[in-house]
């Protein structure tokens, strides 16, 4: 087993130095490298519209990753987010058939997302169950309900105005989706890094017992985080349904693993207690760049997933190897 060797340095690194050697700096480097490789590899890449299209690859998953980051920092996890997308999308389809218009559909989508998150949160916090198992269960349950409702059918024919969320542009090549992502990234950055609530999230992740003894209502914070993750899955569901213009029960299959990959790639410790929103946003962009770049080169999606998987393991393994190398040299 590894041993902890946390020593207290005589003085802290200068802010500039620590920023230069941070995880986020590494991610920026990776992103820039991939960007350059993409531009060299394909003549179609360096183009405002291409780059705008690229953002659709990661925005929906990225929105969930923002909330999932907080949840994982607090030491929990939610594997049911993709299933929540499916259930919320199905509910919107039912609401559409019942005659609701765009505002109603959005409210239904968000409300179902929130309700699913609250259900997960209740099971984890009220009954004290491990979140990984609970959300494996609710993952089957939520998507299962979508399958019961839809079977092998699909909902189509969403109202014209509903298409704006996933297909509309705010200005020139700037899509509604990317604007929403940027706004939410700032909101989540503020929430995690600039509020008391954000501090409690870190505290809980580092030591839930100490957090409870310091008067933090651990269970309540966790419950809120599950609700938030569910709500963001609802938002993603609105965007995805609007973009695809249809609902099938298999919608967003496998998204949960990509969202978690984003969060971990972004430098959030899967053991809880550390991470940053900037890292998660960068990781989302990197994943978008990788998949879009490989797509331009006609690489099939399944081969891209190899690249994502390797990226995940390498990016986690490299700093560990680096640390070990450094230690071996000093000893």
């Amino acid at each position: 087993m590894t041993t902890i060797d946390r020593h207290i340095p005589d003085r802290l690194d200068s802010p500039l130095r620590s920023a230069l050697f941070s995880w986020e700096a590494l991610l920026v480097l990776v992103a820039v490298a991939i960007f350059i490789v993409n531009s060299l590899a394909s003549p179609y890449f360096l183009n405002a519209w291409s780059i705008s299209d690229l953002t659709f690859n990661f925005v929906e998953k990225g929105l969930i990753a923002l909330a999932m980051a907080l949840l994982i920092i607090a030491g929990e996890i939610d594997l049911s987010v993709a299933a929540i997308i499916a259930l919320a999308s199905t509910a919107m389809g039912m609401a559409m058939q019942a005659g609701l218009d765009t505002p109603g559909l959005v409210i239904v989508g968000l409300a179902v997302g929130l309700a699913c998150g609250a259900f997960n949160g209740l099971l984890v916090t009220r009954l004290g169950l491990p979140s990984i198992v609970v959300t494996i269960g609710t993952m089957s349950l939520f998507r299962g309900i979508a399958f019961i409702v839809l079977g092998d059918e699909a909902y189509r024919g969403y109202p014209q105005s509903f298409a704006y969320f996933g297909q509309g542009y705010v200005w020139w090549v700037v899509s509604f989706e990317i604007v929403l992502f940027a706004v939410m990234a700032v909101v989540f950055w503020f929430l995690l890094h600039r509020t008391v609530f954000g501090r409690t999230v870190f505290t809980i992740g580092n030591n839930p017992v100490a957090a409870a003894f310091s008067g933090i209502r651990v269970e309540r914070v966790k419950f809120i985080l599950f609700c938030l993750t569910g709500l963001m899955a609802g938002v993603a569901s609105v965007l995805l349904t609007s973009r695809l213009g249809s609902t099938r029960p298999s919608i967003a299959q496998g998204y949960e693993l990509e969202v978690i990959t984003m969060v971990v790639l972004g430098g959030v410790s899967i053991l809880g207690g550390s991470g940053s929103i900037v890292g998660v946003v960068l990781a989302a962009v990197i994943m978008g760049l990788v998949t879009f770049g490989l797509g331009l080169l006609n690489v099939p999606g399944i081969v891209m997933s190899i690249a994502i998987g390797m990226l995940l393991i390498t990016v986690i393994a490299l700093p560990i190897l680096w640390q070990r190398l450094k230690k071996a040299r000093t000893v």
């Binding site: 929990e76 990984i132 494996i136 349950l141 299962g144 019961i148 029960p249 809880g272 399944i302 560990i320």
Partner: protein, 325 residues
């Protein structure tokens, strides 16, 4: 603790029996021994996979890559068979188990040597192994006419009234029972999960134990790779897509604690069979197969609620390592 665990298996067995009886009230044929044996045979692969997953979960790890490992090994074995139809099938089974174990060892080595959390490692290899399946096959399928007759028929042959597939499951159950209860590796697997710190003091190499557990789960996944492609007579990239969570679900329903250290061979087997009885009963009672996913989801939640009651919150969150790790 022992008697409590026994209790849980008794309850689970009773629940399965009750389920069978409920279905049998309307459709007496369902409870006939030959039908129950068919259900067992249909879910033999899940039983075997659940045992491998159990060994990993007991050490406070999780293997999400089993289904992808299965798909990759199944593809390689099927392609080998298509290319060299003369090779004896037992040799192919050995090949499957070796490839599977090698993939498992890759997971295990990352967990052991680099101390990367198992959930991250296997999340990565889940996509890598399935992607590799696509790469080796070029996206093509291997179907019935490419496979040799022996490749397809071996697991269907009947020995003493049971298909070979069922026998393989029974032998695996027996082997795991001996391994978990009668060998020092089995003891170490439990010890590493119950209390890693104490295990280290007791001279158990916890990292190595996890490594071996991953090799084990990889090996059974490889074995199931052969069993799956020869049973459904197709090898493709999509084989067993998403099945990894069914395997975890079988363990959870069987009372294997995700916090490690708690669980038994009997529990894992019964958990898989519970899912099997539900899956087989739905078409009989004329419920659309689309209900199956939601019902197994409900069963998982119910099982974990009941398990938690039994354990009285003893478990830790899987994402947490021991405080001293």
């Amino acid at each position: 603790m022992k008697s409590l665990a026994k209790h849980r298996e008794v309850w689970l067995a009773a629940a399965i029996a009750l389920l069978v009886m409920l279905v049998a009230v309307r459709f007496p044929g369902f409870a006939r021994p030959d039908n129950l044996l068919t259900v067992f045979n249909d879910y033999s692969i899940l039983v075997i996979l659940a045992l491998g997953q159990m060994a990993v979960i007991l050490t406070r790890s999780i293997d999400l890559s089993m289904a992808s490992n299965l798909a990759f090994t199944g593809m390689v074995v099927a392609m080998t068979n298509a290319a060299f139809p003369g090779l004896p099938v037992p040799l192919l089974i050995v090949q499957a188990m070796a490839i599977g174990a090698a993939l498992g060892a890759f997971n295990g080595a990352l967990v052991w040597k680099l101390a990367i959390p198992p959930i991250v490692v296997t999340l990565g290899t889940l996509t890598i192994f399935r992607g590799a399946t696509f790469v080796v096959s070029g996206g093509a399928w291997v179907n019935a006419d490419a496979m040799s007759p022996a490749f397809i028929s071996l697991q269907r042959a009947e020995v003493l009234g049971l298909p070979v597939l069922s026998w393989i499951a029974i032998i695996t159950i027996a082997a795991f029972f001996v391994l978990m209860t009668r060998t020092s590796l089995g003891r170490s697997i439990y010890a590493a999960g119950v209390n890693p710190t104490a295990s280290v003091y007791a001279g158990i190499d916890v990292g190595r134990t996890k490594f071996l557990a991953f090799c084990l789960s990889g090996m059974v996944a490889g074995l199931c790779g052969y069993l799956w492609v020869s049973r459904y007579v197709i090898a493709s990239t999509e084989v067993a897509n998403g099945y990894e969570l069914q395997i975890v679900a079988a363990c959870v329903i069987g009372g294997v604690s995700i916090a490690g250290g708690v669980g038994s061979v009997g529990g894992a087997v019964l958990g898989a069979l519970f899912l099997g009885v539900i899956g087989s009963a739905l078409p009989v009672i004329n419920v659309s197969p689309f209900w199956q996913l939601a019902i197994s989801g409900g069963a998982i939640i119910l099982a974990v609620v009941l398990n938690a009651r039994g354990e009285k919150n003893k478990g830790r969150i899987i994402l947490k390592k021991a405080a001293t790790a």
